[in-house]
């Protein structure tokens, strides 16, 4: 009923290979974009935009970055937090040196620094795999964290050791700093996220993405066919770190406003890995679903007792939160080990033939 595909014929290879082959999905995408770009900034409250939507988009972006590496190329990484940090500190230094340059360009540029660092730490992946690679990326995490504390040049010798975002304008609007309105920051973040998701989606569906997946599925076979692991793995590290770096720069510039090293610690690497696993390895939609699950659900759970007028202590709610989220993670992984994206795919398959199942 919902997916009535009668009359939708594919008459060219182009149509057959489309990312959204069903008309309803294409309409839905435009509808989501309409909601995201028009409805939410117009009607969302400051709290909703600032504490839910902006971080959700930023973490979704970071999840996409990790998904490129872990989901599509099969290289597990625990260094995402640090690569985000590289992007953030790079953007901070860039805007210190080039205060007049449009901050959005600097955010996009700062990803290249993260990509460079990511490639250096990706080199061991040519020799080692699996758990051993996890350990080397963990080393990257600790080494970079150490740099963020011990290299005062990175934070302009601030006594507090934190990077504080100066006020910057773009297109005549204040986009960073405390005076920037949440809606403006949200729209900037949303635009960057949509743009980069589109780029990554094209990469994944193209030649490069296919070599990544070949490496993931069987690296020896891929090598025999003619895929060069050096290029495939390093390009995956570069793209992944680039996206993570941009996410990190956005995290500081469009959300937090100031950050210490603790914003890029190993807990964030785990957080993003969880988002990827819960959302679904090797799925862009999954990155968004995972980020929504891990970031938004706790906030909603926290708000429930107050909305219903229950008088529960803030700390008790927090403990309950940990328990509920933990239980839900286990439940979802038992129901569907391939994550929320797979659940969604199954649901859609059922919807397409509903109400006449086989």
């Amino acid at each position: 009923m919902i997916y009535r595909e009668a009359g939708q014929f594919k008459t060219s290879y182009r149509q057959d290979a489309a990312i959204f082959p069903i008309l309803q999905d294409r309409i839905a995408i435009w509808f989501y974009l309409f909601v995201a770009f028009i409805v939410i900034p117009t009607f969302g409250s400051d709290f909703f935009i600032n504490s839910m939507m902006i971080p959700f988009l930023i973490f979704a972006m970071a999840s996409i970055g990790l998904n490129v590496l872990t989901g599509y190329t099969g290289q597990i990484s625990l260094g995402t937090g640090a690569f985000m940090g590289v992007g953030a500190y790079a953007c901070y230094k860039l805007t210190t040196y080039f205060p007049e340059t449009n901050i959005i360009i600097l955010v996009l540029l700062s990803g290249f620094f993260a990509a460079g660092i990511g490639m250096i730490f990706g080199l061991p992946s040519l020799r080692i795999k699996g758990f051993y690679l996890v350990v080397t990326t963990l080393a990257a995490q600790f080494f970079l964290e150490w740099c963020f504390i011990r290299v005062p040049w990175l934070y302009n010798y601030n006594a507090s050791g934190a990077i504080e975002v100066p006020q910057r304008e773009a297109f005549g609007l204040i986009v960073t700093g405390p005076s920037a309105s949440p809606s403006v920051r949200y729209l900037v973040v949303l635009s960057i996220v949509v743009f980069l998701t589109w780029i990554v989606s094209n990469l994944i569906h193209g030649r490069i993405g296919r070599t990544w997946m070949m490496i993931r599925d069987m690296d020896i076979a891929a090598e025999l066919i003619g895929v060069r692991p050096l290029y495939a793995k390093l390009s995956a590290f570069a793209v992944s770190s680039y996206v993570a770096g941009v996410a990190g720069a956005m995290l500081v510039f469009f959300w937090l406003g100031a950050a210490e090293v603790e914003s890029f610690d190993v807990n964030h690497s785990f957080l993003i890995l969880f988002m990827v696993i819960i959302g679904g390895l090797g799925s862009l939609v999954g990155s968004f679903l995972g980020a929504a699950f891990i970031w938004m659900l706790p906030i909603i759970i926290r708000a429930v007792p107050k909305m219903t007028g229950l008088d529960i202590n803030a700390s008790t709610v927090e403990q309950l939160n940990f328990m509920i989220i933990g239980a839900l993670i286990i439940v979802f992984l038992i129901i569907e080990p391939h994550g929320l994206a797979r659940l969604w795919a199954i649901a859609k398959q059922k919807l397409r033939i509903w109400p006449f199942p086989h």
Binding site: A28, S45, G161
Partner: protein
């Protein structure tokens, strides 16, 4: 799925907005409390949050609130995490919040730039950005009774007064390697140069808090004459245990006022005998107002304390002092503006005209509770004196008179730091103190 999330989110947002409206419709004095009863620093966060909440409960029960309006304290759990702290701020600021007490230097640094925009002051009582004491440059931030720099200078002064002065001595500085611990370093370096002593620094990362053997091995190698500690949470007890293990003389080991509470020393017990730390508010229950808390709140079962003996401990009383200052600021703001339901802007006026003198403390039933706090337009840090107390194996004993800070040195450095802070922030709101 995406659609469901979107609708769900929109519903949640609407509900949140509606709830905001219903709260601000009632006439109350809304004071959010950013607490941390969970996480690595919960041991310190719980007594602070209890003391803060209990004092206001007592005021509501005994006096019916302030100026006839009840004080509503809403706790929001931060877990000492800056991101969650900002989330708490965003979630509560729309409900007519009067003032924020973040109890974390990390959260304070995040909130400072937001204060002039949202017109809600931040009271970081004895922590946070030291430079915020310069009232002209930071109209919305208050950090009395003393900044970290004041406190450090008082500690140096105390050391200078012992055993023939500090000149030529070696001072070790062990600190938690985050914004909080690094805050006093510029002053310490400057004083070392001016007063002719040597500083050795021992940074302790958050992850190494409970494993400091290597740091104390270095201490043993360096043999400093005095040790100063800027520690928090589990770091304190570990450091004191390690110091005792290498037989460092504990009466030459001085913590700041976040490194000298019952929560820190009770796990160490007898082994920590002799350890000294700074403090700003008296511990104990021998004050009428504290007795009222026991009577109206704790015995009535309206407190979250697990045991009656929790009342009167160092951090409980510090949370209470914070509440006393906020209550006093509300009262002053009500007096000066002539309205009872005040806003964040009025609250700022109240905080700026704070005058918690000895007489006023006596009126409040808190004689000798704290050092006098007096703020002015120029001075939001008060620059008050501190005192030292020493652990005797089971409790703290006060061992010094009030030690005033080296205001002449500190003030100049604070001004320089404040100028540096606002230098790269065009359009930063300052005020003219005439």
């Amino acid at each position: 799925m995406f659609k469901k999330i979107a609708t769900g989110a929109v519903i949640a947002a609407t509900a949140l907005t509606m709830q905001t409206a219903s709260v601000s419709a009632q006439e109350t004095l809304f004071v959010p409390s950013l607490s941390y009863r969970t996480g690595p620093f919960a041991g310190n966060g719980i007594p602070i949050a209890n003391g803060f909440a209990d004092y206001f409960t007592m005021i509501n029960e005994r006096d019916g609130g302030i100026g006839g309006l009840k004080v509503v304290v809403e706790e929001c759990e931060t877990g000492y995490n800056a991101q969650k702290g900002v989330e708490c701020y965003e979630a509560t600021k729309g409900k007519g919040a009067l003032v924020y007490n973040p109890y974390s230097t990390g959260i304070t640094l995040q909130l400072i730039p937001k204060t002039p925009v949202d017109k809600i002051p931040v009271l970081s009582m004895g922590y946070g950005l030291s430079a915020a004491a310069i009232g002209e440059k930071f109209p919305w931030v208050f950090n009395y009774p003393a900044t970290y720099w004041d406190q450090m200078s008082s500690i140096i002064k105390y050391i200078d007064g012992q055993e023939g002065g500090i000149k030529g001595k070696k001072v070790g500085f062990i600190y938690l390697d985050v914004g909080y611990g690094k805050e006093p370093i510029p002053l310490l370096d400057q004083l070392a140069e001016e007063m002719g002593f040597e500083v050795v620094k021992f940074p302790v990362g958050v992850k190494e808090m409970q494993n400091q053997s290597s740091h104390w091995l270095n201490v043993r190698k360096e043999k400093p004459d005095w040790m100063i500690m800027w520690g928090f949470g589990a770091m304190n007890a570990t450091a004191i245990k390690e110091a005792a293990k290498i037989r460092y003389p504990l009466d030459h080991f001085i913590g700041n006022w976040w490194a000298g509470a019952h929560a820190d020393l009770e796990p160490v017990g007898e082994a920590g005998k002799g350890y000294i730390s700074a403090n700003m508010a008296k511990a104990g229950t021998d004050m009428p107002a504290v007795q009222d808390i026991l009577k109206y709140v704790v015995d009535a079962g309206k407190s979250q304390v697990s045991d009656r003996s929790e009342v009167g401990k160092v951090l409980y009383n510090r949370g209470m002092l914070n509440a006393v200052v906020v209550a006093e600021a509300i009262r002053i703001a009500q007096e000066m503006t002539g309205k009872t339901a005040i806003t964040g802007e009025d609250m700022r006026i109240g905080l700026e005209n704070m005058d918690l003198s000895d007489e006023r403390l006596k009126e409040l039933g808190l004689e000798g509770f704290t050092v006098p706090i007096k703020a002015t337009c120029e001075n939001h840090g008060s620059g008050g004196p501190i005192f030292m107390h020493q652990w005797n194996g089971s409790d703290f004993e006060r061992i010094s008179d009030l030690i005033p800070p080296m205001t002449d040195r500190v003030r100049a450095m604070l001004e320089e730091a404040a100028d540096k802070y606002i230098a790269d922030k065009p359009g930063w709101q300052t005020q003219d103190c005439g």
